[in-house]
């Protein structure tokens, strides 16, 4: 993978953004700026709005209030954004076929796809898995295929929605290593987790969501050392936020 040209997607800004589904407020008046640099990690209990915020940031769902801008623009084709869903769907193709598909979708010329796919599969630790049907892989392996597919887009911003939620510690460690590696190469990682340990290990910045509201955001070190809100203190202490 190459080092990245400056992205047109950053900074990614939520400006008093909200999402209403019918009567239900899913995201409430979110103002947040995502800059290049170390990973931004969204934390918060189930139902806090993490998935919804990530989807909106990717441009998959529109906001109903306020706005989101990518590099200052309100509309920006997601050419250099990529998303790994919490339960990624494997295309009914081989592992390699899945990556080839993503490369084609990203406009990589036919002649380069074979080498790029091999590189990506190596990067995510799936050497030798290329010809296997992707749907037959384990959860952790499928998560890696999804990562390889996302990286096929040569993303400037990579969104990961609870990428290790259903994985055992070994598979979790493998995914975290890939994420760190990718972030170190200059990709802006924006991910959600409800695993506080994972947040500590990976986050440059932290964002705490609760009931669709942004409770607290800032550098991870400061967040853990000196939380400003009661919710954050409780969350760090491992108490349930209800």
């Amino acid at each position: 993978m190459s080092m990245h040209a400056p992205s047109h997607d950053l900074p990614l800004m939520f400006v008093e953004a909200g999402i209403l589904a019918g009567e239900v407020t899913i995201l409430d008046n979110i103002s947040l700026t995502l800059n290049a640099g170390a990973p931004t990690v969204l934390i918060g209990p189930n139902g806090a709005g993490k998935t919804t915020l990530l989807r909106a940031a990717m441009g998959l769902i529109p906001v109903t209030h306020g706005r989101i801008t990518w590099g200052g623009n309100e509309t920006a084709a997601p050419a250099r954004r990529a998303f790994v869903f919490q339960r990624p769907a494997m295309l009914r193709r081989s592992t390699e076929g899945n990556v080839h598909y993503a490369l084609a979708a990203a406009g990589v010329p036919h002649g380069q796809r074979y080498d790029r796919a091999a590189e990506l599969l190596t990067l995510v630790g799936l050497d030798g898995f290329g010809s296997r049907p992707a749907r037959r892989l384990s959860g952790g392996e499928q998560q890696r295929v999804a990562l390889a597919r996302a990286l096929a887009r040569d993303p400037a911003v990579l969104f990961l929605d609870e990428p290790t939620a259903s994985l055992d510690p070994h598979a979790t460690k493998a995914i975290e290593d890939i994420v760190s590696n990718v972030a170190a190469r200059g990709v802006k990682v924006v991910m959600s987790t409800h695993d506080l340990g994972q947040a500590k290990r990976l986050a440059g910045d932290l964002v705490l969501l609760h009931r669709g509201r942004l409770i607290e955001s800032g550098p991870a070190a400061q967040f853990f050392a000196d939380p400003r809100t009661e919710e954050a203190s409780k969350f760090i202490a491992g108490e349930l936020l209800i």
Binding site: L91, R92, Y101, P133, R135
Partner: protein, 230 residues
């Protein structure tokens, strides 16, 4: 029963009369499946991927049409093609073409309904991923049809099985004219009543063999799908 022996003899000796009937049957049913596929796959995919008013109703009707009684289809096509009917000027009644039309009408809803279900299930599974990869509408359809190809082949085979085995529609519009519109099923129906059991049984044996072959192919398609797609 000496009928069985002479029936087998008819089959094994390659009786030209019998094989002319088999050939015409296959030609009619395969043509019908081809046309029904050309209609049913796009229609099914369109319904699967498009929101329009009355969509649910269309799906219910389409599913119901899978169980159309062949003889009623035959009657409807007969009325359309009869001299005073809207398509009477085509002069197709009691021709193989009329039989292809009737079987196409019979089978197209089956293929459309199965395609709709297959493509829609896959779309639900794929939609987020395809959106995140920024795939446009044409690419979306191509991806879904390609990735569903083994199931779609199974749908075509189901249509072929239905066409090859039915008698009601083609006997009404084709008339079982010897050497012209006589097929396996119409011959079995009429020769049995006339008492020519060896021919009826011989054709029955061939028909059962074809049905087994269709199922074997459907099974092979499913296995191939599992091997490549998981």
């Amino acid at each position: 029963m000496t009928g069985d022996v002479s029936a087998l003899q008819l089959v094994l000796s390659g009786d030209p009369g019998l094989f002319a009937i088999v050939r015409l049957s296959l030609l009619i049913s395969l043509s019908a499946v081809l046309f029904a596929g050309l209609i049913g796959v796009p229609v099914g995919a369109f319904i699967a991927l498009t929101l329009f008013p009355g969509r649910e109703g269309v799906i219910v009707v389409l599913n119901a049409l899978m169980g159309l009684p062949p003889v009623v289809v035959g009657l409807a096509v007969f009325l359309a093609l009869s001299r005073s009917g809207p398509l009477g000027s085509w002069g197709l009644l009691f021709t193989p073409q009329a039989m292809v039309i009737a079987q196409t009408v019979l089978v197209a809803p089956i293929i459309a309904a199965l395609t709709r279900q297959t493509i829609e299930d896959l779309w639900v599974e794929y939609r987020d991923e395809l959106a995140a990869m920024n795939i446009g509408p044409a690419g979306r359809v191509a991806t879904l049809v390609w990735d569903a190809r083994f199931s779609l082949v199974t749908a075509l085979l189901a249509g072929f099985g239905r066409a090859a085995a039915e008698v009601g529609a083609i006997i009404v519009v084709g008339g079982n004219i010897e050497g012209f519109t006589r097929t396996m099923t119409t011959a079995i129906a009429l020769e049995t009543s006339k008492g020519d059991l060896p021919l009826a049984i011989g054709l029955g044996i061939v028909l059962i063999f074809i049905v087994i072959l269709i199922n074997a192919l459907a099974w092979a398609a499913r296995r191939a799908g599992e091997r490549t797609a998981g």
